[in-house]
């Protein structure tokens, strides 16, 4: 455990306990990991782990997945099968071994400085935001507004979002389905906030696809609110050694006005003002 209170990353082999769909496109995995020091925090919301298959079937690089929860020696993940690695993950049955390196990266701030939290998650961006709400939601400066966006109502993991969350779905809803509104999650947030922008400042935290993050940035900037975003970059090591995952951070002292920062180690959570938006490509890379 380092001086900042962040737990040390541990390299170990876990065992899949459960691994199955929680919505049309999302899968929840429970991984039993050895150890877990009683009393100490196991992770902070926003941290992730690099998962891999053990031995000769290992992928060259682990796959980064945010930690949804970690309790009683069981780490929970929520993911979507999109490519080679996550598809293989999806196929693992109970009892399969999986290497685990984590927790990694810098989390969302635990304190909002007395501000009301506005939590925004899109798709597989749910885990860090969900765990923030679970762990800090009660003690934050005012009732949190938690909004989740999904493609369709079938894609919503209802067991997780329950009724603490407002839900927006992109595909039109069946008539009379009152569980969600139709549209983008950022539209939902704007609607929910109403005039509260005038009432009092909020602190925004978000994780999701790039178009959503840009909209969140604008939403916060327009109101002058502090805003934290969790970014995604393709990763090699996940623990800061390969420099394969850089995002551009503002650095006025540098010739070019920015410097490359590792998404895995300096991030994945960044304050919106630290990012050099002008040199970013559409997906966030310099």
């Amino acid at each position: 455990m380092g001086p900042t209170g962040i737990p040390s990353p541990c390299s170990l082999v876990g065992e899949v306990m459960a691994n199955g769909p929680v919505s049309s496109g999302l899968i929840e995995m429970h991984l039993r990991v050895p150890g877990g020091s009683a009393g100490q925090p196991t992770f902070f919301p926003g941290q992730f782990a690099m998962l891999n298959r053990p031995g000769a079937s290992a992928w060259t690089f682990g796959r980064p997945l945010s930690i949804l929860a970690w309790e009683g020696g069981v780490v929970r993940f929520l993911y979507r099968a999109v490519g080679r690695g996550t598809r293989e993950l999806a196929g693992l049955g109970a009892g399969s071994g999986l290497t685990f390196l984590g927790p990694l990266g810098n989390p969302f701030p635990a304190e909002t400085g007395g501000l009301r939290p506005v939590l925004i998650a899109g798709g597989v961006g749910l885990p860090p935001i969900w765990s923030w709400l679970q762990l800090y939601g009660a003690r934050a400066g005012g009732p949190a507004l938690a909004c989740f966006g999904a493609r369709s109502v079938e894609d919503v993991p209802w067991t997780l979002v329950g009724d603490r969350w407002r839900v927006a779905v992109e595909e039109a809803l069946a008539a009379g389905d009152g569980r969600a509104s139709t549209g983008l999650v950022t539209e939902l947030v704007t609607a929910e906030l109403g005039d509260s922008a005038l009432d009092g400042a909020c602190c925004v935290m978000a994780c999701g696809p790039w178009p959503m993050l840009r909209a969140v940035r604008d939403l916060a900037a327009a109101r002058g609110w502090p805003c934290w975003l969790s970014l995604e970059e393709h990763m090699g090591c996940g623990y800061g050694v390969c420099k394969g995952c850089v995002v551009p951070l503002r650095e006025p002292s540098a010739d070019v006005g920015w410097r490359p920062a590792t998404c895995c180690q300096e991030g994945p959570v960044f304050p919106v003002d630290a990012l050099a938006w002008d040199v970013m490509q559409p997906e966030g890379s310099p």
Binding site: P9, A58, G240, S285
Partner: protein, 304 residues
């Protein structure tokens, strides 16, 4: 179980040129950064990722800091990866002022990797590191990176010519100091033994073989190369047979100790290099997957 012919303790001290190293299992340059974050890592049964390691070869540094290449910098392939990091590094000044003292304080055995675009620069870099490290117990040597394929202005073609290799080795002091002088060779040549002989003749105490192979992958959606610089350095399990062949050529055709690098992910992989006569090995890409990879290999080769 270890094969019957294996009788070496990979964690016992051994000598390269004037310098005794604490062990034969090292991490490769660029795959464990500056070796400074390992103490933050834990694994059941291990004190740290440095346990049993002979050296961390630090990320290659250049005279000035470098911001590296545009993203994406990595492409995973079925049994390997292409990288195009572009030598992002903190530069000489920060390396000698900050990195080296911290490695020394943390008692991490290390080899400093340096790259330059001409022999004179190699001379300056080597001298600066030598000055900073003169009294350090844990600084064991210099590795001249003559082979990084991602840097436009130097790198590649640079290290493909035996005369240039010799000139850089001579400029870096030709092995006159009290630490080991190693030269990291590019495999992207027809005759790697000629490079090794040139390095040895100019005073290198050993060669590290090999750096990455030039590779390319295509993004099918666009039909364009995945990496902005087209080419990347190919590493990982897929290159093991290629790197073993290069090491074998050097061992048999040049009179110089070889540190084997390329595709090592297990004790078995490391043993293949030792079987061919390598004096030590470096773990690269696999160290990125698991910070304890080299330490696990060291322990397994020790205990069988």
């Amino acid at each position: 179980m270890m094969p019957a012919w294996w009788r070496t303790d990979p964690c016992a001290p051994f000598r390269i040129g004037p310098r005794e190293f604490p062990g034969r299992i090292w991490t490769a340059s660029g795959c464990f950064a500056y070796g400074l974050t390992g103490h933050e890592m834990t694994a059941p049964g291990y004190a740290s990722p440095y346990e049993g390691l002979g050296a961390v070869v630090t990320k290659t540094i250049t005279p000035e800091p470098r911001a590296g290449n545009p993203m994406p910098r990595l492409v995973e392939t079925p049994a390997g990866a292409l990288n195009s990091i572009g030598l992002e590094n903190v530069g000489l000044r920060e390396f000698v002022r900050d990195v080296m003292p911290r490695l020394e304080a943390a008692a991490v055995p290390f080899v400093a990797s340096i790259a330059a675009t001409c022999p004179e620069q190699f001379s300056d870099l080597a001298r600066a590191v030598q000055t900073a490290g003169a009294k350090m117990r844990h600084w064991h040597g210099l590795e001249l990176n003559l082979s990084c394929p991602n840097v436009a202005e130097g790198g590649h073609d640079f290290g493909k010519d035996p005369d240039t290799v010799a000139a850089c080795v001579s400029a870096a002091g030709g092995g006159a100091g009290d630490r080991a002088l190693l030269v990291k060779l590019t495999p992207n040549v027809g005759d790697i033994a000629a490079l090794a002989r040139a390095a040895a003749a100019a005073g290198a105490h050993a060669v590290s073989a090999v750096n990455t192979f030039v590779g390319l992958d295509v993004d099918l959606a666009t039909g364009r190369p995945c990496l902005p610089r087209r080419f990347g350095g190919y590493s990982g399990a897929a290159i093991l047979p290629l790197a073993l062949a290069k090491v074998d050529e050097i061992v048999r055709k040049a009179q110089v100790p070889v540190v084997g690098v390329g595709g090592i992910g297990s004790a078995d992989d490391a043993l293949k290099y030792f079987a061919l006569g390598a004096v030590a090995v470096q773990v690269g890409t696999a160290q990125m997957r698991d910070p304890f990879c080299a330490a696990r290999i060291a322990r397994q080769l020790q205990t069988g």
